[in-house]
Symmetry: C2
Subunit: 547 residues, 2 copies
C-alpha cells in the first residue's frame, strides 16, 4: 500500500510537523512553532500550514509528539482547534509540558502518556517510542510501522552515554530496528556541519563547579528554560556550595515546576527562594537561574541587566551564558552581555570560556552512527535549513548512499513510498502562517511589506478635503508624517510637499475627478519629490476626505 | 604639558575617530563610519559625533588616517564639510581609496601621501607611520610624540610574517618605539576572545587552489571588497587554472581599480572580462569575484543567487564565502547561502570548510606580543565593544598590569595625561549621528521610536472632518491602516473602531473642543480597543481636518 509523507513546516529547523498518510489514515508527528526572521516585523510566531489537512480531517487518527520543545509542540494551542479531537501521544514530560500550554489557551485535548517500548496502533500505523538523549529529558524517536514499510522518524537526538538523568539513547533498540530493515530514516541534520560527536551534557556541571569557586557574588546562570538537565546540574552545584536558588522568569519557573511535579527535576525545597528575598542573603550565598539566554528584550536577565528587576547586579556577580545564541540572536546576546558588564558583572560566554554549553543535536560522526545503526534504504535529512540538508547529503554520499536514495524534498513536496520504492508525489502548498497578537494567519505579504517600508522610511499621510457634491477641494491640504523626518524641524520640506500636492489638485480642478486616479497621482509625485529631497521612500498614504 | 585624548565614536568596533588635544593644537586620527543595528530601521550609516570640536575648530591642525577601511575613513565625506580645510595624511592606498569617495561626494580636501618612517610635525605633535599587516594593504599604526609623552596608536593590526604583499609588520620599529618609553598604548582588541595568534593571509591561496581543482563550473568567490591581498590570491589561482576573471559589484570593481592604479594589485589585463561576456566562455574557465560576503540585499552575489544578474548560477558552480559574517549579518549570510544552494551551486563557508577566511585582527597572543613590544605605562583597548575591552583588561592583568594602568573609558570620557600620569577629564557628549538618505543627524530618537512601533504593528490613521467655524463633526470618520491588518479582510474590526471614535465625538458634540485633547482621547481609546481585539499596538494617528 502507498504511504505519503509531507513536512507541513517545509524545510526548516523549527515548526516541525509531519503528515504520514495512507489511503485510509493519517497520523501527525509533532506540531511546533518557529520564531520570525528580521524581515517579519511584529510577528510573534510562525506555525505550520495545515491547509493540506483541510479536506482530510476525517482521516486523522492521532498526533504523536517526539519531545517537549516548543518547535515540536508549541503550535498545538493554535492548530488543535482546527483538527478533530484525536489522541495526542507522548512521553510523560512531553505531555506534561504540552498540556500546560494547551490548557492555558483554554483548549481541550485527549492526552495519552506513552512508555518507551509500548506499541501504539492507530489505523494503518503502529508507532513505537525509542528513547533518545537531547537537551530536554524524555525525548523520543519514533519507529513507525506503515503498510509501505518501516520508517524511523529520527527527530532531534544525540548519543549521550552519560546523561544527567542516567538514561542514555536506546542504541540497542535502534540497532534492532535497523536489523528489521528500515525503508527510510528521517534524520536530524542541524549539527551536520560540526565534525565529530557532540559532547555529553554532564560536563557542564564541572564548568559550573570551577566557575562558582571563583565567584564571591551572586552566581547567575542563564540557559534554555526546558533544559531540565542543565538546571539539575546548576542546582547540584548550588547545593554543594550552600547557595540559595532563585528562578527568575516565567518560563523557567513553569518548566521547573512541571519537571519537579513529574519527577524529572529534584529541588531542595528549603533552598528555593523568591526574587524579592535575594537581598536578604549574602550575595555569595545565592544562585540565580534566569531566562534570557537569547538576549530576549523582556526576559528576566535583560531586566536584571537594565536595573528593572528585583534582583540587582553588583560588583562580584558572575553571569554565565550556558547557551549559545541561535542564528539571528547574536546581536541581541552581545548587547545583553555588554549591558551586564556595564552594570558591573563578570560575564562568561562561549567565546571566552569553553564547555559552557553543549548542543542537544548530534554532530557529523553521531549522525553517521545513526545512519549505520538504522541502515535504511532511503535517508531524508530533516530539522535543518537547505544548507544543513545539503551538507547531510554529502555525509550520506560519503557513506556510500547514491543520490537517488537521498531524499531532499522542496518545500511542500510529498514523498511517496510503494513496493519498497520512493517516488515524488504532488506538491502541497506550505506557507508560513504568521501569528501576530491574537491573529492567526491574518498578516500576509502586503501587511509585512508595508511594515518594512514604514520601518525603513516612515509614513507620510496627505489629507485632501473635498466637497462631496462636486469633488472640489475645500480647505487646506494637510501632511502628517511619522518615522520619516522630525516634523518640527522640517517645516520647509513639508510645506514644499504640500505645494506639490496643491499643484496636482489645481491641475485637476474643475475636471471630473476619479479619486483612485488622484490618489495614485499624488503618491507618485510626492514619492519622486521626497526621494529627490531626502533619498528616502516613505509609505505615502493619500486620504481624500469628503465633507 | 597636558594631553587630552577622546574617542568621538565612543566604545565601538567601528566609527573610529580620535581627538588628540593640547592647549594649542588638535590632531584627529581616523574618521570612520559604523553600520546600524536592527533597532535603527532605515538608517544607512552612523558617523562619529563631532560636537566636541564645534568651538575648537581653529585648533585643528591635521587628520591622520591609519588605513583605508570604511570604519576608519568612511565618514570623511560627511564630516570634512564641517571642519576647516586641514591636511589629511595617510599612506598611498589609504589616500587613494579615501580620495575616491570624498571626490565622489563633491568635497575638496588637502591630501598628503606619507611614507613609512617619515616624521610629520604639526603643532605640538610629531606623527610617525609604522607599517602593520591587516586585511587591507598599506595599513599603519601611529607613533605620536606629544608634549605629555609618546603614544602608540595601535589601531587594527596583526602580525603576519608572510603577507601576500611581502611587507610584514615592522616589528623592529615597534620594539624600538617601545625602547624609547611609551606612555600609553591604544591597542586593537577586537579579537581578544580568540586564543593564540591569527593565521597568515597567505594560507587562503592554498584553500582556493584545492577547491578550484574540484570545480567544473564557475568558481565564484565573495570577500570584502577592500581585501586586495585576498583578491590577488584569487587572481593568482585563476591564472594558474587559465580562468577568465570577472569582477561583479561596484565596490569590488572600484577598489580593484584603485589598487591596480596605485600598484597594490596585479591583474592580467587580457584575462579580465565583463559580466555580460561570462556566457561566452565555458563555465570551467571562469572565476567571479563578487560583492555580497555579508549577505547584503542588493549585492552582486545576492542578485546572482536570485537570478537577477547577468551571471547565472548553474549546476557545477562553486560559491566560496571567503569572509565570515560580522556580528548581525549571520542571518542574512545564511539566507544567501541557502538561496545559492537552491539555485544549484555548491557553497563553501567556514562552518563546513576550514581556512576560507583569516581575520585582519590579532588574537590574544598577538595582542600580548604588541603589549610586550611597546611595554607602555598605560594601556587602553580600542576598536571593540564593552565585552572585548573587558576581556582585554583581563589579558593585560594577566601580563601584570594593574587596574589603575588599564584605561577603560566610558563613552565620551576624556583621558588626560600630564607629568607621566593619567587622570580622568571631563565627559563629552558623543551621540550616534545617524545618516538616512541625504539627511545627516536629522533622524532622532522620536523618529526611530515611531519606525519601530510601525514596524511591529503598523499604523492606524483616523480622519475626523470638522467644520472650521464651530468645530462640529461634518461627514464620516475614516480609518485607514497600513501594516496593521489586511484591511479588506478586517472590515468588521475597522467598523467597530470607527464606532469607538464616533462615540467619543458624540460625547464631545456641542462642547467647546480642544483638538489636542480630542486627539489624545481618540488615541488612548482606540489603542485600548485595538489591543483588546488584536493584542497589537499600532501607531495611532488622528488627523482632524477642518473644512
Amino acid at each position: 500500500m502507498k504511504l505519503k509523507i509531507l513536512s507541513l513546516g517545509g524545510i526548516a529547523v523549527n515548526k516541525n510537523m509531519y503528515v504520514y498518510e495512507t489511503d485510509r489514515d493519517i497520523i501527525i508527528v509533532d506540531c511546533g512553532i518557529a520564531f520570525p526572521d528580521e524581515d517579519m516585523p511584529g510577528i510573534d510566531l510562525i506555525i505550520p500550514d495545515t491547509a493540506y489537512l483541510q479536506n482530510k480531517k476525517n482521516k486523522i487518527r492521532a498526533i504523536f509528539l517526539t519531545h517537549g520543545h516548543e518547535d515540536h509542540r508549541g503550535a498545538l494551542p493554535y492548530i488543535l482547534p482546527n483538527l478533530p479531537k484525536v489522541p495526542i501521544y507522548g512521553t510523560k514530560l512531553t505531555i506534561g509540558l504540552s498540556k500546560m500550554r494547551v490548557e492555558e489557551a483554554g483548549v481541550k485535548a485527549d492526552w495519552r502518556e506513552v512508555n518507551y517500548g509500548q506499541s501504539i496502533s492507530v489505523g494503518d500505523f503502529t508507532v513505537n517510542f525509542i528513547h533518545v538523549t537531547h537537551s530536554i529529558p524524555d525525548a523520543a524517536n519514533l519507529l513507525i510501522n506503515t503498510p509501505a514499510g518501516l520508517i524511523y522518524h529520527g527527530s532531534d537526538f544525540k548519543f549521550d552515554w552519560t546523561p544527567v538523568d542516567g538514561f542514555p539513547t536506546q542504541v540497542q533498540r535502534i540497532a534492532q530496528a535497523g536489523g528489521q530493515g528500515i525503508l527510510c530514516l528521517l534524520s536530524d541534520c542541524l549539527r551536520v556541519e560540526k565534525p565529530g560527536y557532540t559532547l555529553s551534557e554532564r560536563m557542564i556541571e564541572q564548568t559550573f563547579e570551577s566557575q562558582i569557586q571563583k565567584c564571591a557574588g551572586k552566581f547567575i546562570i542563564t540557559t534554555q528554560s526546558s533544559n531540565i538537565s542543565r538546571i539539575q546540574q546548576a542546582v547540584n552545584v548550588a547545593q554543594r556550595h550552600d547557595r540559595m536558588i532563585v528562578f527568575a522568569g516565567r518560563s523557567i519557573e513553569q518548566s521547573a515546576e512541571v519537571a519537579v511535579r513529574l519527577g524529572y527535576l529534584t529541588l531542595p525545597k528549603n533552598k528555593i527562594i523568591k526574587a524579592e528575598d535575594v537581598s536578604r542573603y549574602p550575595a555569595g550565598k545565592v544562585m540565580v537561574l534566569a531566562t534570557g539566554s537569547q538576549g530576549q528584550d523582556n526576559s528576566a536577565l535583560a531586566r536584571i541587566a537594565n536595573g528593572e528587576h528585583k534582583i540587582k547586579i553588583a560588583e562580584g556577580d558572575f553571569v554565565v551564558f550556558s547557551q549559545d545564541p541561535i542564528p539571528g540572536s547574536e546581536t541581541a546576546v552581545d548587547e545583553l552581555i555588554n549591558t551586564l558588564i556595564k552594570a558591573g558583572a563578570d560575564v562568561f560566554y562561549s567565546a571566552i570560556l569553553d564547555d559552557l554549553h553543549v548542543s542537544g543535536h548530534e554532530a557529523a560522526d553521531g549522525l553517521k552512527l545513526m545512519l549505520a545503526l538504522t541502515s535504511p534504504k532511503y535517508v531524508w535529512p530533516i530539522g535543518g535549513t537547505i544548507k544543513h540538508v545539503k551538507q547531510y547529503a554529502r555525509l550520506a554520499q560519503g557513506m556510500g548512499y547514491k543520490d537517488s536514495n537521498i531524499i531532499l524534498p522542496e518545500d511542500g513536496e510529498i514523498v511517496e513510498f510503494e513496493d519498497g520504492k520512493m517516488r515524488w508525489g504532488e506538491k502541497a502548498e506550505v506557507k508560513n502562517v504568521l501569528i501576530d497578537g491574537l491573529g492567526v494567519g491574518d498578516v500576509g505579504t502586503v501587511v509585512l511589506r508595508d511594515r518594512r517600508t514604514m520601518s525603513a522610511d516612515g509614513v507620510v499621510m496627505v489629507v485632501v478635503p473635498v466637497e462631496k457634491a462636486n469633488g472640489e477641494i475645500v480647505g487646506e491640504v494637510d501632511i502628517v508624517s511619522r518615522g520619516f523626518v522630525y516634523m518640527k524641524e522640517s517645516g520647509e520640506l513639508i510645506n514644499e510637499a504640500k505645494s506639490v500636492v496643491q499643484k496636482i489638485l489645481k491641475e485637476h480642478a474643475g475636471k471630473a475627478v476619479d479619486f483612485r486616479f488622484l490618489r495614485r497621482h499624488i503618491t507618485d509625485q510626492l514619492d519622486e519629490f521626497l526621494f529627490k529631497e531626502t533619498h528616502r521612500r516613505p509609505l505615502i498614504l493619500p486620504v481624500i476626505v469628503e465633507t
